[in-house]
């Protein structure tokens, strides 16, 4: 979290300076007022959201996912994989290593991509943040609009890769040096 904090802090100071140049102290004060009005009502929601995030992190385990992905085929597999992606907890440094580990499992490539599409679209642990920091109606509509997208994307991936498996894909497209390392 140190890097995002540093980047945002720099962006904040730059933006404050620009605001000062454009509208003087009055506009800078206005910016702070907007922040002060926004934060208090969101505090209970943020605390509740992190409580849910913590519980989800412990409830959902990696082992169960591996079993489910191997269990289904056809449309059921697409649906299950997209949902599993959405349920899979954690930031990129947790789910990419998980996928990397699945490379050797000889899974269809389109399912591999579908997992990521599901994770990026449905991410259950991100939802509390989306609702609390943006707004419930916008979050709801965004989720309704994007609901079928991972399934449509799975169809496109299936068209491209047919029944190619992860083992074939990574053997074909990965540089030999990298292959040896994995």
């Amino acid at each position: 979290m140190r890097m995002p904090f540093v980047i945002l802090s720099i962006a904040f100071f730059v933006m404050t300076f620009i605001t000062y140049l454009v509208g003087g102290w009055n506009q800078v004060t206005e910016g702070f007022q907007v922040t002060l009005e926004t934060i208090p009502p969101t505090i209970p929601l943020i605390v509740a959201a992190f409580f849910v995030i913590g519980q989800l992190r412990v409830t959902i385990k990696e082992d169960a996912f591996k079993k489910w992905i191997e269990k289904y085929d056809g449309f059921k597999a697409v649906l299950a994989t997209a949902l599993l992606g959405g349920l899979f907890p954690g930031p990129p440094y947790t789910y990419y290593p998980f996928l990397h580990e699945l490379k050797e499992k000889d899974l269809p490539v389109y399912l591999y991509y579908t997992f990521l599409a599901g994770k990026h679209t449905y991410d259950l642990t991100r939802l509390p943040m989306e609702i609390s920091l943006i707004s419930p109606p916008i979050a709801l509509l965004r989720n309704v609009i994007t609901l079928p997208i991972p399934l449509l994307m799975a169809f496109v991936y299936k068209m491209f890769f047919k029944d190619m498996t992860t083992l074939d894909f990574f053997k074909k497209f990965t540089h030999p040096d990298r292959r040896d390392r994995s």
């Binding site: 979290m1 995002p4 904090f5 945002l8 962006a11 904040f12 605001t19 454009v22 509208g23 506009q27 910016g31 702070f32 007022q33 907007v34 922040t35 926004t38 934060i39 009502p41 969101t42 209970p44 929601l45 509740a48 992190f50 409580f51 849910v52 995030i53 913590g54 519980q55 989800l56 992190r57 409830t59 990129p92 990419y96 990397h100 991509y113 990521l116 599409a117 679209t121 991410d123 991100r126 943040m129 989306e130 609702i131 609390s132 920091l133 943006i134 419930p136 916008i138 509509l141 965004r142 609009i145 994007t146 449509l152 994307m153 991936y157 894909f169 990574f170 497209f173 990965t174 540089h175």
Partner: protein, 164 residues
């Protein structure tokens, strides 16, 4: 904000009760996990809110109207898709910024594509993805995902036009 807080409280308590029944003191561990993440991310959230406040007062009205509002049409969806992709920060920081663009007059299509563009195309994930799964894998995913994010913007724009 009362209703979403209540929903989360109920969801959180339900999950807590479920975890309480699991062996290994999982429920208490989950509270500690949640609070640890919160403490770690609170400074980021705070700075993001400060930045969002400045963005809200600094973005020129004309820019919003021409490029990001409902009137901007599909231009808003396109710039939202690109903008979401370029927001290389976590959700705690990205969401307040997106909310500030919406509050400043950004159209629904822009907001939807900003969120979805950030979720599906965010460049902050590229180092992990290309490092672990390869550059080609990442390029294939990005090139297939981009039109879908834009398509979500088109649908959002149509909904916006119907609502208004």
């Amino acid at each position: 904000m009362i209703w979403p807080t209540l929903v989360f409280a109920i969801l959180g308590i339900s999950l807590y009760v479920y975890n309480l029944k699991q062996p290994g003191n999982e429920a208490t561990k989950a509270i500690a996990v949640g609070m640890k993440i919160m403490v770690r991310t609170l400074p980021v959230i705070l700075v993001a809110f400060l930045l969002a406040g400045m963005i809200e007062v600094i973005i020129p009205r004309a820019f919003i109207e021409n490029w990001l509002s409902t009137e901007a049409g599909l231009r808003g969806a396109f710039f939202g898709t690109l903008g979401g992709m370029l927001l290389v920060i976590g959700p705690y920081a990205a969401f307040p910024i997106i909310a500030s663009i919406y509050a400043a007059g950004g159209g629904f299509a822009t907001v939807v594509t900003l969120i979805f563009g950030w979720c599906a195309l965010g460049l902050h994930r590229i180092p992990f993805e290309s490092g672990l799964l390869g550059v080609r894998f990442t390029l294939v995913r990005l090139s297939i995902t981009f039109p879908f994010v834009f398509m979500a913007g088109i649908i959002a724009h149509a909904i916006d036009l119907i609502i208004h």
